[in-house]
């Protein structure tokens, strides 16, 4: 026995020494087989190397992830109300969701793009768009808040979206062709009568402010994805169409009849010049333009009228169609601007067009007829190359800046690396499952940072612990620094990410604001210190000018409110220290809390319905005395005449 035990003990020790040795044996299965875990591990307190801005799809919001860790850093509300932050609920942000259809609490956020200078990411702003009620938005990357939302009139299913390489224009295409201008007509008469306007929004280089510049009234072909030309092809933009049949019913069959659809090639500089010289006609339109002032935490919504429209036939040499097999989806331009990768999602091959060949074909005027007066280039003349048997259902392509392209395949559920030199497939890796977009930081610019690739998958199935029938979508991070791609990490995403944009953290993080300065607070009802706090009555409106600091409100006792009053709490956070927000909640308020950053003021409307004494409190744990951060409001009967009184600690 003893002998056996001591042998056993020895054995055990040996095994333990191997097991605990850390670096010992890495040839096992799973994450331990490689050092994948180590490569995505960001130690506690350390920062990620990249920011990733992920579209939130039908959540209407945009989320910020750290890469390579896949940690969720923030959800930034854009097109949907966000009760957590009070966005779209408090008085200051309600106007952000105003449209020509009235207040809309939800949106479907699709693509995202970071602003560029000379075709390189500059980290000033990230732009995005909404598919359902056509809108585009700018998020400011110093506050990580939505700064502006512009409605796109005369459009529907706002989808194809791109930012030009000096952020001159934002392009917003029409996915669902519609009568233009809108009118009461038979749906059956769609063909030849519906239009697909492509909208160009001018970006102010100082403020990022957006202004509707012009709309190119294209045929109603359903515009899908768009990308700008860059470097050599700067001044052009490209967008796919998937319904050149102009089918108005059962599109899954009827929009898949033509052997080829089109990529539109549009020389926007030429059109810009045309408009500048007085070209184009004004069309009736009404659209909301919502601008948020970060210093006042207040948005204004302005209804604007009229849009300059341009008929492409009137500008010879500005718009062309490139034929491409079978309902193309993605349309991606490589860092040099020479290659335009078209992904016919029902095609067996991947088509790559050559920009220089396209220019030559245009110069030679060697057309293959026209569609609604727009010249169609000959497929063979502009073809750069074909990637043969790359996979099934190609969707999107990004680039690593080392001569390689990476394309996602939805049906065969994989990401495929191929060479732009010889169109040969270099590597393929499965995705889990049914990948849509992919993102390489800067992969849609002149200067990609080809270290990581993120695949955004549409179907999750068994990748995580089940959470009922609904699962968050899944993203996968691959290391693409070597010849072969390596899957490092799965992480869940919010809503349905249609695209993401990544950028080295160093281009943004030093600009991130820590506080709003009290002396720059421009809120109409801000107070600078406790001595300015007060309560004022104007008819049945009561305005409470309140402050908050760790850990009390001033005033915290209010009397003289009556049932039926409209009580506006204008609450200023007097803190001036990083990451000391306070929250504000009032019992019975038919809205969300206020979440107020240091130095900011926000306004909540409360309409008391019953007499009594009602508490208010801070919702965001702020200090050891957070639980004590509370107050009371006395509500007297309607028609009574109580004296308006307010105090803090009896003063």
């Amino acid at each position: 026995m003893k002998k056996i035990n001591s042998i056993l003990s020895l054995l055990v020790l040996v095994v333990i020494m191997i097991g605990c040795g850390g670096d010992g044996d890495r040839k096992k299965s799973g994450a331990m087989a490689t050092n994948a875990a180590e490569r995505v591990y960001v130690a506690p307190g350390e920062h990620d190397e990249f920011y990733g801005f992920f579209s939130g799809g039908f959540s209407g919001q945009m989320s910020v992830y750290g890469l390579p860790s896949g940690r969720l850093l923030k959800v930034m509300p854009v097109f949907s109300q966000d009760a957590e932050k009070g966005y779209g609920y408090n008085e200051g942000t309600k106007p952000m969701l105003n449209t020509s259809y009235g207040f809309i609490p939800w949106g479907d956020l699709h693509h995202v793009d970071i602003s560029q200078t000379n075709g390189e990411l500059d980290g000033r702003w990230v732009f995005t768009h909404e598919n359902n009620t056509p809108r585009v938005a700018r998020i400011d990357l110093n506050t990580f808040e939505t700064g502006e939302i512009l409605e796109i009139p005369n459009s529907a299913g706002n989808h194809s979206f791109a930012i030009t390489e000096n952020t001159e224009y934002l392009i917003a295409g029409t996915r669902f062709a519609i009568p233009s201008p809108q009118r009461d007509m038979s749906i059956e008469d769609m063909k030849g009568n519906f239009k697909g306007p492509l909208t160009f929004v001018k970006i102010d280089q100082e403020t990022g402010g957006m202004e509707l510049a012009f709309q190119v009234i294209m045929p109603g072909f359903n515009f899908d994805l768009a990308h700008p030309g860059r470097s050599a092809s700067h001044g052009w933009m490209f967008a796919t169409t998937y319904n050149s049949e102009e089918a108005n019913t059962l599109l899954e069959v009827n929009a898949s009849q033509n052997d080829k659809d089109f990529i539109v090639a549009l020389n926007w500089k030429k059109i810009e010049e045309y408009v500048k010289n007085g070209g184009g006609t004004m069309m009736d339109a009404e659209y909301a333009h919502n601008v948020y002032n970060h210093n006042s935490s207040t948005a204004t919504s302005t209804m604007k009228k009229g849009v300059k429209t341009v008929d492409p036939k009137d500008i010879p040499g500005a718009v062309f169609f490139m034929p491409i097999p079978k309902s193309p989806h993605g349309c991606d331009v490589d860092p040099t601007g020479e290659y335009i990768v078209g992904s016919g999602k029902l095609a067996a091959e991947l088509t790559v067009f050559s920009f220089s060949k396209m220019i030559k074909a245009i110069e030679d005027k060697n057309y293959d007829g026209d569609a609604y007066g727009i010249p169609i280039l000959k497929y063979e003349d502009i073809l750069g190359g074909i990637v043969k048997q790359p996979g099934l259902g190609p969707l999107h392509t990004e680039f690593d800046g080392k001569g390689n392209a990476y394309t996602t395949f939805f049906i065969s559920s994989e990401v495929v690396k191929w060479s732009l030199k010889d169109y040969q497939v270099i590597d393929r890796k499965p995705t889990y499952y049914s990948v849509g977009h992919l993102m390489i930081p800067g992969g849609n610019s002149r200067k990609p940072f080809g270290k990581y690739l993120v695949a955004m998958n549409k179907i999750t199935k068994d990748r995580y612990l089940p959470t009922g029938p609904e699962m968050n979508h899944s993203a996968q991070l691959y290391d693409i620094s070597g010849d072969k791609m390596e899957l490092l990490l799965d992480f869940p995403t919010i809503g349905e990410p249609h695209y993401a944009a990544g950028i080295p953290a160093d281009l943004i993080k030093q600009n991130s604001k820590k506080i709003y300065r009290l002396d720059e607070n421009e809120h109409e009802h801000a107070v600078r210190n406790e001595s300015e706090t007060r309560v004022e009555r104007k008819g049945n409106e009561v305005h409470v000018y309140m402050t908050m600091i760790r850990s009390h409100f001033a005033p915290d006792n209010i009397e003289g409110i009556k049932v039926g009053d409209k009580v506006y709490f204008h609450v200023t956070n007097l803190e001036q220290d990083f990451d000391v927000p306070h929250g504000f909640a009032m019992i019975g308020a038919n809205t969300a809390e206020l979440l107020i950053m240091p130095g900011a003021t926000k306004t909540m409307l409360w309409e008391p319905k019953r007499i009594g004494v009602y508490p208010l409190y801070c919702t965001d744990f702020c200090s050891a005395l957070h639980q004590e951060m509370q107050g009371y409001v006395r509500v007297s009967p309607a028609g009574s005449n109580p004296e308006l009184k307010w105090s803090l600690d009896g003063d």
């Binding site: 054995l11 097991g19 605990c20 600078r528 050891a624």
Partner: protein, 185 residues
């Protein structure tokens, strides 16, 4: 602890010694605790919950009061190493300081009465100029390390001194304003 799960089935299979498995398991457990258990042990020591013994913290509090802690040689901890005060008060600077004080400090401080934090009248006789400015500019470190600031935190019900991100010039103007404060009669 993943190791235990992996180790046992493998060894059980290979050794075919059912009668010794128990002893072996025990042994393995002991070795594991010695060789791999360190982190777990540390964790336990660090996470002390439910220690409700009343002596330790109270002793410290009872031992002293900020009233007995007048130490003009204590310059505090922070960016301010040396301040020279002119005998004459710079009235313009004091007026500027009063404005900054009103906007940035009065949510917690009154001059003649304890509010969230202490009353400020007479502070220039109790604390060195450097201590005052460091308390304004570097409150987090002060309440963590400086003996007087630590005591004041206790006396303020653990309400921390907020960092209002003032500049050195603004803090200096507040100091000048403090020099003008007089006890109300």
């Amino acid at each position: 602890m993943v190791l235990r799960v992996i180790l046992y089935p493998n060894l059980n299979k290979t050794l075919f010694m059912k009668s010794h498995i128990k002893i072996f398991t025990l042994l393995a457990g002991v070795f594991l605790m010695i060789s791999c258990g360190d982190s777990e042990k540390k964790e336990k020591e660090e996470v002390k919950t439910g220690d409700y013994s009343q002596e330790a913290p109270k002793k410290e509090a009872a031992a002293t009061s900020s009233k007995d802690m007048v130490d003009m040689s204590n310059k505090g901890i922070g960016p301010i190493k040396s301040v020279t005060l002119n005998a004459e008060i710079d009235q313009a600077l004091a007026v500027k300081g009063e404005t900054v004080f009103k906007n940035m400090c009065t949510a917690c401080h009154k001059t003649n009465k304890k509010f969230i934090g202490p009353a400020l009248v007479g502070i220039t006789e109790r604390r060195s100029p450097e201590w005052i400015m460091n308390m304004i500019l570097n409150p987090e470190e002060m309440i963590a390390k400086d003996p007087i600031a630590k005591q004041l935190l206790l006396e303020s019900n653990m309400a921390v001194m907020a960092n209002q991100n003032l500049t050195e010039e603004e803090a200096r103007s507040i100091l000048e304003y403090f020099r003008t404060l007089k006890e109300e009669i």
